[in-house]
Amino acid sequence: MISFNEKRCVGCYACQVVCKMEKGFPVGVFGITVLKGEEADENGVFRPVFRTSLCRHCTEAQCVRICPVRAITRDQHGMVVGTPEKCIGCRLCLLACPRSVPDFTGAQRVSKCNGCVERLQVGLQPRCVASCPTAALESVTRQELSEKKRRGYLEKRWERRQGTGTPSR
């Protein structure tokens, strides 16, 4: 999966731009979308926060299930991919996806993230991941991400303990 760490995202939109370049999506169509919101910090000051809406290639992908003409399918690499030529533009996939991911070209054909399988196969990272300057995006398996987070938590816990708990020697 492509993991997004919102703490690292600075809102540069690089992923959004390179994805379009890579896939040749027309104006207004995005494979990954950076969303800007605002959240108050502990002092009540509003700061921008960034989230992404990116395809999760869900196990029980609702888009795949609902498409009447099988224009969204799971390919042999496990990615959920769209086939624009088959799409009728009924937008049921858009309404079924909880993140509103599938986007449409002017001719009402679906265009969505395919996980950059063609790049993964030659050992490259997905284009958005490769372009992220702050490593907010990462390409990892779920089990890897879980391990990373578990270790990361222990490290943070240790640092905290050191910072506050250890008396000066």
Partner: protein, 170 residues
């Protein structure tokens, strides 16, 4: 919240035997891969410039403000009255956002691809110990409400204190 059960770990006691992981796998019939509880080890420096290994079993913390619940776009995760955070797998679509939202990496994904995680052995009768707690040979895991945990810590402190003063002949 008051009555919520949690798992409490005594990292000083844990010897890293992974018995809890095994107990959990057997109890819940977990397929290879996912670990609802995982003993993570960490090398930490000692005061005498040496180093030592600390173990920490990590499971789901059944958070009060659970990040996984906020993250889940399908509304598949919820908190039960007794505080246990559970996933309804009929609603889960396997998108993995809960794992992103959890600070502890607790949500797991097995071959079926849907989210699964520690349930605090919710299928056992109320008040029973969890499987990991039962099997831990050194008593490093205990389940209970924060009050119970506090009482446990206080009384074990008392026991240590008494033992200490006895050994020093006072």
């Amino acid at each position: 919240m008051a009555g919520e059960r949690v798992l409490y770990f005594d990292t000083k006691r844990c010897v890293g035997c992974h018995a809890c992981e095994t107990a959990c796998k057997i109890e819940n019939g977990i397929s290879p891969g996912p670990k609802w509880i995982e003993v993570v080890q960490q090398v930490v420096p000692r005061e005498d410039d040496g180093w030592t290994i600390e173990f920490m079993p990590l499971n789901c913390r059944h958070c009060t403000n659970a990040g996984c619940i906020t993250a889940c776009p399908a509304g598949a995760i919820g908190k039960r009255g007794d505080g246990v955070v559970l996933v309804n797998r009929a609603l889960c679509i396997g998108c993995g956002e809960c794992l992103q939202g959890c600070p502890f990496g607790a949500p797991q994904f097995g071959p079926g691809g849907l989210m699964e995680k520690c349930t605090l052995c919710a299928h056992r009768p109320a008040g029973s110990p969890t499987a990991c707690e039962q099997l831990c040979p050194v008593g490093a895991i205990r389940s209970g409400t924060p009050q119970e945990m506090s009482l446990h810590k206080r009384s074990s402190y008392l026991i240590t204190a008494i033992a200490l003063s006895a050994s020093q002949g006072r």
